[in-house]
Symmetry: C2
Subunit: 116 residues, 2 copies
């Protein structure tokens, strides 16, 4: 279910390059090209889902897997003791720019509150 004009579908399909840090049959993680922290990764489902508001009930496991993938990548990068922030932006007010769901994993510095 790739969408021809979606940059993250193209990344998932390796039509355009990215710095991939994890991949399995359902999920891919790669470096954000405009990082906002020493570690800034994006975790995406390979399947095209436009927005968090479009998630189906049957996608609960997939959404959980995105969080678990972030947990694993944070651990692998030695962030468990210091900490990290996970962000999901839905639609314009949140600043969602690519309309293919992506979970931001940010770590390696202190984060302020509110979160933007």
């Amino acid at each position: 279910m790739n969408q021809a004009d979606c940059i993250f579908c193209k990344i998932a399909g390796k039509k355009i390059p990215s710095k991939i840090v994890f991949e399995d049959d359902e999920v891919m993680a790669f470096e954000d090209i405009n990082p906002k922290a020493p570690l800034h990764l994006l975790v995406i489902p390979k399947r095209h889902i436009e927005k968090v508001s479009d998630i189906a009930d049957s996608d609960a496991g997939l959404m959980g897997k995105l969080v678990l993938t972030a947990r694993d990548l944070a651990r692998k990068n030695g962030l468990n003791d210091s900490g990290y922030r996970i962000v999901l932006n839905c639609n314009r007010d949140a600043g969602q720019e690519v309309f293919h769901i992506h979970l931001h994993l940010l770590g390696g510095r202190k984060f302020t509150w509110p979160p933007g």
Copy 2:
């Protein structure tokens, strides 16, 4: 698996009051007492899990359910067209203050980038 000194376990067990907006057997959502947006809800598992880094693989469905609950509450509050931000803070660098996992759902205004 409540923890006696955990404020969110007390909220889940209704030992202390909160403005509850959703509840089922596994999940509860309530208003943040220090809101950072017109809508600022916390979605928690009733079961005590200290940090995102402590999530077990078997909790994937539960984590997905937290996201789906946020999706539902955002929709109910009319935020689908404008948008919303979901944040999970893990440990000190992220500013996690209550060590019982909680997903922040923020909406009703524009959010800046980076997210804190």
